[in-house]
Amino acid sequence: MGARRARRDRRGASARGLALGLTALLAVEGLIGAGAVGQVRRTDTIDVSEIQPGMRGYGLTVFRGTTPERFDVEVIDVLHNFRPDQDLILIRTPHPILDQAHVVAGMSGSPVYLDGRLAGAYAYGWPFSSDPVAGVTPIRNMLVEMRRPVRPDAFFGAEPFAARGRRRATPARPRLGGAAPYLGHERLTATAALDAHAARLGLGAPSDASPVPVATPLMLGGFDDSVVRALGAQLEGYGLTALQAGGAGVQAPPATGPGRYVDGGAVGVSLVRGDIAATAVGTVTHVDGQRAVAFGHPMLNAGEPGLPTSLVRVLHILSSVARSFKISEPIRPLGTLVHDRQSGIVVDSRADGATVPARVRVLGVTDAPRTEWSFEVASHRILTPVLLNAAINNAIKATAADNSDVMFEATSRVWVDGRRAPHEVVDVGYSPIGPANPAALRELRLFSLLGAIYGNPFEVSRASRIEVDLQVRFERSTVEIVDASVPYDEVDPGSTVPVRVTLRRWSRPEEVRVVPVRIPERLAGETLQLRLEGGDAVRLEHPEPTDLDGVLANVHQAYPATALLVSIRTPARGLRFAGHVARHLPPSALDALQLRNDSDRNRPFVTYDRHQVDLGAVVGGNARVDLRVREVPRP
């Protein structure tokens, strides 16, 4: 609750401080930012060409509290073309703390001054280096990003940047940054977007011999150790180091301390705040008007992510042979991450980043110390599912860490901004290792809903609220398909065939269930293939959606995991269309509906006749039966 109050206070202050409304803001500054730089003094900077080996200077960073302190800097040399159109200044940082800590996670972005002028940002280090040697991103590259304008509609949900009136007309494709649009045809995992993003960036294991961005500590509060490790593994490739810290993400603002970003001050990107918190911490390189550039390297290289940012207080620098980092916590929300680029991140103080209020409840665990978690999670295509997945795992871990059989029923409700009723999906599953089973929970259709909302190609949208109720029962209610048979190998068309399915329920003897399956007369003379499997394994042929609602409808269409599906593969073909699926088409219609010069969208698919039987337990396994249908029924 403290977090909510602090946020309300912050909004009030923000509203008072931001006298300019959105219209006026944009009118004054054009496309946000382009004009801002023009209004402030020119930064006194030193160009890379002026930098010589042996030059001495200083850097600024926060070692404790909120006030930046100096550390000495000596130039080793300049590495040219370290990145495309970007050099790297190699420096040594003799300092009592840095001599021990070498490269400190969280120092990314610390401004380095040479000849009294700003040279760049402390940004790169060498893994397992024994010297306090670092790489500095030249300020020239960072200022370019700082002055880069942003599209107002890039930050849907961020205030006051949100451009609601225009969002329906805004094509989502540019916002997806080249990511494949999601149409609801397949189920998404919590990390699907993150994995795809990593693949696009070509992220791999860093070489010990190559400079890599100084790690950005992701300070986690209220998380179980196992969740910290899991989240760390997922985000490691981006240079985010998950660290167990503390804090609720928003502390009451200290009586003294900065109310704005300062050069060398600490800055956090708040991914989660509330009952749990996750903040990526770095250092501000330079502040120019309402904009601050920081980190000296990308965070996720996500373009214009619109994530909320905050002022941060450093508690301590922990020196470690393996990894040194700043222990810190956010103290005040302030601004939005408007650019996440190669040479650094850019924060704009005038807007609040978009967040989604979320609630996770774990039900069915008696005497649990806590069953409900409320928090705000950053609204972002890639990060929201990942963070929400971590939050769900964390809630379960804290509530029911039992390592035993458990059945769960996850009811996920997602409100789409601008739509009144929530989208609700129910997933039923089983975990043999207790409810805290990341593999089972990462496939909840909640994440497909989020994929539809953030990754649909039709409109810019966002989730406005998320609720997950996880009902757990400590039992094993599963049924395995062991075998299936039909008492004859040839059947009459139009007859009803008793398919004998041998099922194995947990702790019970095998049972035989007879599923009557009607063989359509139209399949006379065919050799049929009957597939038996759980509803969760069956993939439906969805229509091509034409809007977000269509994508969401596709996500909703699924058989329950507790259903046994008997699918008869038919020789007929079907076609998908916008909003429709036509099945069992005769040849002439199949021909007529396929245009000669159509692209590959309208491809025929095999159609199935499906029979659904609810078994009341999660169905696993599968079986197949081949069956010959007579040309004509026996007299």
Partner: protein, 680 residues
Amino acid sequence: MNKRIVLSLTAVAGLVSLAFAALAPEAWATSTERFVLDDADALAAGELTRTAVHSDGRVTVGAELRRVALPDDVPLVYAAARAADGAIYLGTGNEGRIYRARGDRVELFAETGQLLVSSLAVAGGDLYAGTLPEGRIYRVGADGQPQEVARPDGVEHVWDLVWDARRNLLFAATGPEGRVYGIDRQGRAQVWWDAPASHVMSLALGPEGELYAGTSDDAVVARITAPNQATTVHDFEGNEITALAFRDGVLAVAANEFPDPPSVTSAHTKARSSATATTPVPRPGKGRIWRVDGEGRAERLFAQDEGHITSLAIQGDGTIVAGTGKDGRVIRVNPDRTTAVWIDVDERQVLDLSMEGDDPFFVTGDGAALYHVVDAQPRSAVWQSKVLDGRFRSRWGQLTWRAQGQLVLSTRSGNTEEPDETWSEWSTDLARPGPVRSPAARYLQIRATWSQDPTATLRSVTAYFLPQNQRPRLTDVRIEGPNKAATEALRAERRHQIPDASTQYKLAWTIENPDGDRVRYRIRYREDSQTVWREALRSDHVLTDTHYTWDTNAIPDGLYVVEVRASDELDNPGSLALSDTRQSEPIRIDNHAPRVEQLRFASGRLSGRAVDGLGPIARLEYAVDGGEWLPFFPQDDLFDSATESFAVDLSALDPGNHIVSVRATDASGNAASAEAQIQR
């Protein structure tokens, strides 16, 4: 279309040389060929614009059409129905809309929200619309508001609707359970026929209230007289009855045979991608039109292997008119059983038609349009051949045709399979046969234009051409057949096998002959170390086979290279003939046996040497007193030279007089022996 080789070399070559003297540097064959378009299939293979091609091979002026386009976002008109007031209702995909056409004006009439309006029927003032994929049947009032009247269980498609005014019932042909429903005005649906097929595709109502129904995925037509009272009229070849029409006691049937469904990869399980299906292009079927008379006699009237029949109508005079699913054509089957390709439009499919009244029309798919068939003589008409392929760049000769009446022909040419901007313009018209006026190229297209005489009839068209001569190419020369001795010899040695000796060498070669000209081969050879070639064939020997048995009996032993020369001079004059040569790997000729000499017996050993002209010696054997041949090795134990000395230990022989034979065999299999008489 026939392409015939014509050997009237002199006359046509003269014409060609006159017409294309400017192109002299190129090599042109003298085998004049010609395109002959003189039957219905050949003449109908092109594009018909207001022309018709009749089954007896005539091309005449056809029907005048007036095209009414539908909005660009409508890909097909699947069904059509005419109301009493003359309005034509058009059932379309893929937004499930119904358009209304009055004259040349088309307007959106109703939206069903379904994928396709697949059937329409007019009943009094009501319009009924059958749809897919949810099998909904709507009644659409004058205000264009669709009201769902029926959605029978299990029905996904409504393929045909027929209104039976006498019973006050709407009959619906449906799939995929293959049922015919009778639906009353209250929307109550009763199964009239549950067919043993996936779909009932088509319906036709007889004068006595009997209902005819055709099925898919077999091709059965049934006669239904009451609910669940159906008898089979005929089981047709094929797998789909796409259309039926009944008039004056005659039932017309469109029975089609479609290929197997396109192969696809199932997206059944979630482990597979949704886009794994392989894309087949539309696969039209084979189309047949049948006539069933009142006695149930089925008679096939028309058949085509490319393009199924989509729709049927019977005109008052008994003419059957049919739309096709390929190339957008309308076929006429006349009462005398002659047929004609009557109409040809740009759209791919003619999906429904109505030949009733004074405003016959048809509708199309893969390009949505409504065509009115105008009762007027076309002012102009054009017949255009399909693209004719000369296979190679060709000079064009005479264009001749056989016709009655006045019409003009012209041509165009190019080097791409489909005419494009690189093709020549249409040539000036030829009012009478004469030289083709298009430039040399691989492809030619011919058109005939009716502009002054609508009664003119074209019977056949012939275009002569002279393809550019193509060089025959030898790709290899080899030894094959029973004696591969030469080049195989050394390999045989390595395998310790000695070939049979023979002087007959079978030479063979492979040729690529793009234009199929007759090719003459010449063979010559030289000893590998010499430069002088010697002919293997007499000068008057015309060899046209791709093999030759070479007798080397009179040729000294040695390694020889054989050269084969291929020339198309048999079909081309010397100055234009093209040739190619190819040489063999060195071939070893070894026709002489080794000698066994200097046999001496001393100290129980028989010594001597084997000498061969070419070598090496491959085997040594001896036999005592005519006994079994026993092998022995030379003194150095290696068979590696043309001269091998040997000494055979005979100390184990019984005392007395013996005759010992020694036999030497060379690597080519030639063998010789010598004998010695010894005393032990």
